[in-house]
Structures are given as structure tokens and as C-alpha cells.
């Protein structure tokens, strides 16, 4: 293997997070044995459990692939949630209101979702290119706007007037337009996910854009001196990430959900960021991490059956993983910056000492 260390590190974080959570659950007086059994049953062993795991793994993988492309190019686009929602809105509008044969409506709804997600994401990209606005802030803030837009649409223009009125939601999408039943692990959805994964893999490993954005994520200055176009890279990375999140929105509405509900899956976009990071921004990694976090999500729904652990309990595990990954990224970043400062300070002596120390260490 080329580099096993980061893989072990990522796996180590996950294990550590579980241990830490176990300690906390124990201290809080929960029965960890029951929680453990519940996790395994809910994610894999129980009846229909694995189907449910796959059902959640699919959108996580799709969004996670887009996030990975963006992060790999050095852009911290954390706006998947809002992009997911705009995609879901667009696909619902098309699926409910476009006349025509079912297959055409389906295709149009998916395309609309992809375009809507990409456009939503491009808002942040354009702000970054033309004003230099930090993408972490803009994408994060756009999420809140996305939540409110969805709330408005689901309780306004697309509201199901015949519904109970308890939950703001749209009418149900016609059965023949949908991509899966309520279990959400249909061959169509799986095929879409795997095709996307294959395409992203080829792009990352075998295209000019893939190589350029990978190097730009590490050293944008060098890529610029070699002729890479940083603005185009921002726009295309953001558009792609938005498109995948939008696609996940369509897969949700046309898939297991069957309709648009206000504030659906409120953590999906953020969990997908974890999927991308734990998956080390690589395609196989993202797929594995998506199945893992999908399993957690499935277990979350099953756990109340065997334990009185509240929902926040499993959020805790994800939270701990997120904190550890952030710390690690921060640490790497700090180290890199220190090295850069060292090089900057006193150019002549620093360069000389680095050169000599590197010279002695190289074989």
C-alpha cells in the first residue's frame, strides 16, 4: 500500500470516538451492552437493517463525493445541506407539475435538482471569486437560507392542501415517477450512486482537472505559476459539489421520501462532510465511510427500541469524530504554517539551514 498511515488514523478516530462515547454513556448511567447490541442490530443484523443502512449510505455517498471534490481542491464548501434542499425543491416542483410521460418527468426532475443545487452552490463560488468572501461562512449561511426557503415552499407554493396541516409537506410524487419505494435502496438509486462514484474516480485519477485541482488544494500558488486557472477551479468545484447535493435531493424526494417535507434529514449535509473527511477525500474511502455513517443513521432509528438513549446520544458519536478530525486538520494546518513562516523569516539563513538539514537527512 502506498500510504497506510492516514487510513489507520481515520479508522483510529472512529474507534476512539466510540470508546469516548461509551465512557460518557456509561457515566450517564446507560446500559452500554444494550446500546452496542442495538447499534449492531439496527445497522446490520436486524430484519431489514442493512437495507436501511444502504438507504442512508446512498445520499451520504453522493453528497460526500461532491464535498470530497471541493475539499480536495482546497475549498471548504460546507453548504451541502442548503444545496440538498434546493435540489429537492426543484425536483419536487418538476415531479408534481410537469406533464408528460413518467420517465421524462423523472429525468427532468433529476436534471432540475442537479442544476438547482449547482446554482445554489455557485452563489458562494461567485462571492469567493469576485469579492474574496470566505467560502466557509458563505456556504454555512446559505444553509440557513436554504432551510427557510424549503420551509416556505413546503408550507406555501408546494403545500399539500389536503394534508393534515401538522407537517409542512408537498403532495406525494406519482408512483411511476419515483426512483424507489419507501425503503429507499432500489437498484436505480444504487446504480446512480455507483456510476457517480466511478465518474468521480476517473476524474480524480485520470483527468487534467483532477490532477490540477489536487495540486491546487495543496499549493495553489504553484499551480497558478504553472498556468492553472484558480477562478475556474473555484467555479467548477463548487458547481460540482452543488450538483451532487442537488442530485441527492432528487434521490430523496423521488426515492424513499416520495414528497417534500420541511426540514427533512437536517443533518445529512453535515454528516456528508464527515463522510468525505473520514473517507480521506478519496472515492473508495467516501464509499466505505458512507456505509459506516449510513449504518449509524439506521441504528439511530432502531435504537429507541432497545435503549432509552436519546437521539442526541448518537449525535454525540458523530460530534466527537468531527471534533477530532477538525483538531487534526488544524494541527496539520498549523504545522504547515509554521514551516512557511520559518522559510519566510530571514530568507538567507533559513534557506541555508533547511537546505543543509534536508541534505543530511536525504539518502
Amino acid at each position: 500500500m502506498r500510504d497506510l498511515k492516514p487510513v489507520l488514523q481515520a479508522a483510529g478516530f472512529v474507534v476512539l470516538a466510540f470508546l469516548l462515547a461509551a465512557v460518557i454513556f456509561q457515566a450517564a448511567g446507560y446500559d452500554i451492552g444494550a446500546i452496542g447490541v442495538g447499534l449492531v442490530d439496527g445497522a446490520i443484523a436486524g430484519p431489514g437493517a442493512f437495507i436501511n443502512t444502504v438507504r442512508w449510505a446512498l445520499p451520504l455517498a453522493v453528497i460526500g463525493l461532491g464535498v470530497a471534490v471541493c475539499f480536495r481542491a482546497g475549498f471548504f464548501n460546507v453548504g451541502a445541506q442548503g444545496q440538498l434542499y434546493t435540489g429537492a425543491i426543484a425536483s419536487t416542483a418538476i415531479a408534481l407539475h410537469l406533464p408528460g410521460p413518467a420517465w421524462l418527468v423523472t429525468v427532468a426532475a433529476v436534471v432540475a435538482a442537479v442544476v438547482a443545487g449547482a446554482l445554489w452552490s455557485l452563489i458562494a463560488a461567485v462571492l469567493k471569486v469576485y469579492t474574496g468572501a470566505d467560502e466557509v461562512l458563505t456556504t454555512l449561511m446559505l444553509n440557513f437560507i436554504g432551510v427557510l426557503v424549503l420551509d416556505y415552499v413546503a408550507s406555501g407554493p408546494l403545500k399539500d392542501v389536503k394534508g393534515s396541516g401538522q407537517v409542512a409537506s408537498s403532495e406525494r410524487v406519482a408512483e411511476d415517477v419515483r426512483l424507489s419505494d419507501a425503503f429507499g435502496a432500489s437498484p436505480t438509486l444504487i446504480a446512480i450512486t455507483l456510476l457517480l462514484a466511478a465518474a468521480v474516480w476517473i476524474w480524480m485519477a485520470r483527468t487534467k482537472g483532477g490532477l490540477t485541482s489536487k495540486l491546487a488544494g495543496r499549493n495553489p500558488v504553484m499551480v497558478r505559476w504553472q498556468g492553472g486557472n484558480p477562478n475556474r477551479m473555484v467555479l467548477s468545484s463548487f458547481a460540482f459539489a452543488g450538483a451532487t447535493a442537488g442530485l441527492a435531493g432528487a434521490m430523496h424526494v423521488l426515492g424513499p421520501a416520495g414528497r417534500l417535507v420541511s426540514n427533512f434529514s437536517p443533518d445529512l449535509g453535515f454528516t456528508a462532510v464527515l463522510v468525505a473527511l473520514v473517507g480521506l477525500l478519496s472515492v473508495p474511502g467516501v464509499l466505505i465511510a458512507a456505509v459506516f455513517f449510513g449504518g449509524l443513521q439506521a441504528a439511530l432509528q432502531y435504537l429507541p427500541v432497545v435503549s432509552d438513549l436519546p437521539r442526541a446520544g448518537l449525535d454525540l458519536i458523530q460530534g466527537v469524530i468531527a471534533v477530532m478530525i477538525t483538531l487534526q486538520l488544524r494541527w496539520q494546518f498549523k504545522r504547515r504554517r509554521e514551516r512557511a513562516q520559518q522559510a519566510e523569516r530571514q530568507p538567507t539563513p533559513a534557506a541555508t539551514t533547511t537546505a543543509s538539514s534536508e541534505g543530511s537527512s536525504s539518502v
Binding site: 502506498r2 500510504d3 485519477a205 485520470r206 483527468t207 487534467k208 482537472g209 483532477g210 490532477l211 490540477t212 489536487k214 495540486l215 495543496r218 499549493n219 500558488v221 504553484m222 499551480v223 497558478r224 505559476w225 504553472q226 498556468g227 492553472g228 486557472n229 504547515r336 512557511a340 522559510a343 530571514q346 530568507p347 538567507t348 539563513p349 533559513a350 534557506a351 541555508t352 539551514t353 533547511t354 537546505a355 543543509s356 538539514s357 534536508e358 541534505g359 537527512s361 536525504s362 539518502v363
Partner: protein, 569 residues
Amino acid sequence: MSVTADSAPAEPVSAHSVNVDRVLTLQGVSMRFGAFTALENVDVRFEPGLVHAVVGQNGAGKTTFSRVVTGIYTPSEGRVLLGGAPLRAGSVTEARRQGVDMVHQHFSSPPSMTIAETLEFFSSERRSFFSRRGLVREWQRRVDALGFDLDVSRRIRDLSVPERQSVEIVRALSGEARVIIFDEPTASMPAQAVDALLGRIRDLAAEGLTVIVVLHKLSEVFAVADTVTVLNRGIVTLPKTSIAEVTADEVTRHIIGDTGPAGSAPGDVDSGLEGDAVAVAAGDAARRGDAAPAEEARPASGEGVRTAILDVRGLSTVASPSDARLHEVDLVVDPGEIVGVAGVEGNGQLSLVEALVGIRDATGSIELDGVEVSKLGVVERRRHGLRVIPFERNVEGVSSTSAVWENHALGEVLRSPRRLLAVQKLRAAARRRLDAWGVSYRGLDQNAGELSGGNVQRLILARELDDEARLIIAAQPTRGLDVGAIAFVQRSLAELADRGNGVLLISTDLEELKGLADRIVVLRGGRHVAELPPSADLHEIGRAMLGGDGGTDSVAAPSGTETLGAQDA
């Protein structure tokens, strides 16, 4: 007390016993970074009431000097005394508390703060609570009292460079400074504001402060200073001398270090220099050896006049914080020619390289091998044969956290119109080229950051000096390399020129320029101020770089040569 530039003697001021606490003394100060010696056994005493200039080239130790004096660095040997008591080193704040303050070359004030907030922030007085209005009132009063024309409610980011400098000076003065150090205060200042600043500096000395000014323009030294001290490669080559007792030519000679081969510097520090000279000689020999056939081929292959590889006309850039802007620079590189660009760092070299590469907006025309490329992007220029060995190999040159093969492949990949990559081919090509260029690496997937400086530079050469290269811009290509790597890089550039390509060599190492270049162009303040043959002596190049003693270059040149000749004889 009034001190004027011409009459002030350097020593008698110590008689003013009142001001003894303002005397700053360096006793046997040496500063080492690992094996590198930045300052060697510096003894100097700065008295109050005078402006003391400290001058030298880049890398002469000026910055280290000011950092030792302000307590940022603790000297490896020797000590710094302020008023007879050792200066406690450790931090800028610590030095400030003791009365040593520095006006920085680059301003460190936060751009979003107002002047009043900045001054309060850096003030040694601690008020826990204050109102915004009270702050402005208080600081406006003090700024007015000091005679500065500044509105303290303005924000730092809205200020011009001279205004920012004024803020720095006010900050230093409000902190009860006894010694003020100016680090290249005129470096980023428009010419018309320089006189006012120099006047201000003189006033500070007249008020009885000890003022030390780190400078590299000789005209300014003679305009402002009472004494001058010259550093060259960490050694004081001209001990503090009253300005009335030296000429600009003498100072220049000490700066460049052209005082005869034996006497200039002790061996341990100078070993690098000798190494350079040997390497240059080696590169030169290799070059001249191959030059003969190339020389014969030249007229034969060209029908009539051969087009220049690089023909730059009236190249100008806009101002930037990092470097001087270019003013109407003309530059020609003919086939087979190495054109050297000399100049003190910050005089437009970075602007020139960035404008040629295509990552800085510029006006004027750039013809590359007969094709006008000034409107083209970086990739298109590279497709026309432009290649660059950048200033900072780990910043602009390689991505140190990416694989060796990826770093090598990117150049070719971006130039090629193909969107799909043949990864195996690219890896094979990288292996072939890296081996041919003698890069020692463990594997193609090893990160470039794990290579030594010399090997990173070889990797960059392997990527940039391919068969389609026509013009190579080599910016400080040997900086920080060991002797062997220096010789290799220089030989490579010479061979490239011999194959009929053009090389633009930007270097602060004058020996390197003299050894390699066919012509040496001097940039000063972003202008093309001189063009000299490689046979020009260091003194002549140095004067063009530093701007001489205020007289015009053509007048100053003959007298300078005479003086030098007399000294050598």
C-alpha cells in the same frame, strides 16, 4: 541642541552625560542560525542626537542586526547594552518597555482598526475601560502635539504608505522611546514623500534620541545620516564613520565587498563565497567550452536577423505591496544569450518575473520568440516556450505535500490540450527525466517536500527545461543551495543558452551574474537604469544598484573607477 549633518562629529557626543542612558552599544555580537552566521563579532556604539545609518546588501545581516537590537533575537555571543545596562532580549514588547522601538519596514497594524485604536493597542499604558470618543480625543491631542497631520479616527487600511509610517513613528514616540530603529523606512514610499520622512528622522535625532536607520539607498544615507556603518555578509566592513569623512564610492565598495580578495572577510564566513566563485568558474568553463560550435551555428541558421527570444517594450505594472512597480522596462534576450538582472531585492524583480509569467497585470508589449504574448494567459505563454525557475522553490516551484511525479507532470499536463491523462506514461516520463537530471528520490509517490533543496531545484529544472523551452526565467536559481547544486544549476542554464535558447537570470549574487551572463541589466525602483557587460566590476554594478551618491550615473562612473583603481594599485 542642534546637530547638522555636515558638522556633526561622531564621537564627542558622548560628552553629553545627560543622555548616556540613550547610548546603545553592541559588544562582540554574533548571531548564528545553525551553521549559518548572520552576524559576526559586531562592535558598534550609537550615541544619542545623531542619525546612524546601517547599510548593506540583501543578506548582509541588516535585518538580523535590527532584530538583535530590538530584542527579537538573543545574540549567540556578545551583548547589547542600553545606557550601560544589558538590554533584556525576548520580545518587541520587552524592548519597547526598555525604550528601544522599531519602525517596521512592513506595517503590522491591523487594517480594520482606527489610528486611535492602533495607538492604544500598542501603548504601554493600560486603561481597562475607555469610550471610543475619549480614545479619539486623547490620541488626537497627542498626535497634534507631536506635530503630525493625522486624523486618528481614520482606519489603517485607508491610509497611504507615508501616513502609515507616521502612525508607526507616533506609536514609537508615545512609548517613551530612547532609541528608534527604522528598518528600510523608504522602501515602500513614493519618492516625493521620502524627503519629508528623512526630515522627520532628522528631527527625532535633533530632539536627542538615538536614531538608527537601516537603508540601502546611498543618496538617502548621505541625505539623512550623521554616521554610517556598513555590513557585508554579517561582518562590519566599514566601522561606524562620520559621514563627512567618507565618499559614496568608498561606502559602495564596502557594501559590495570589493576591497581586494584577501582582506575582505575571514575564511569561515566567506567559504560560501569562494564556493560560489568556484562554481561559477566551473559553469563558465563548461559554457565557454561548448560555446564555439554554437557560435558558428548561429549566423548559418538564421536568415538575416534572427528574432529575439524575448523582446519586452515599455513594460509597466501597477503598485504592489510586495515589490516596486515596473516603469516602462525594455528588455531583449537574444537566442543563445543569458541576460542577467541585478538589483537590490524589492526593486522590481518580482514584478518583472510575474508580469512575464502572466500572473500580474502589466501594460506594454512582450514578444516571445516573435509572438506577442502580453494578452495571453500563463498556459498560452508556456506553450510558446516560456519556462520559469521561480524565486521560492517550495512556494511557487513545487507542492511539497504532493508526489514527485505529480509535481513533475503538472507542467506538461497543463500545456497539453488533452483532458484525459495517460498516467503510466506521465509516471514513466517523470522517472526518465528525474533520473536524467540526477534527482535523488525514493519513489515517484514520495512527497516533494521530503527532497533536499538541491533535489527540489533539480526536479524543477527537469520539469521546466524540456525540449520545447525557449525562454527560461531563472529567479534566484541557486539561492540556498550547496556548492555542488549551485554548479549544476549554473551549468544547466549555460548549456541551455548554448543550444540557442534564451535565459533571463535574476540574481542578487553579483558574482553569479558576472560569471554567467552575457549582459547585466540593473533594475532600480522598477526601472531599467543600466546595462553593463559582465566584465564590469562589482563596484560599477553596485553603484547602479544603489543609485550612487545622488549625482547622475554617467558623471559618477569614471570617478568611481578611478578611485577603485587607485585602491587596487
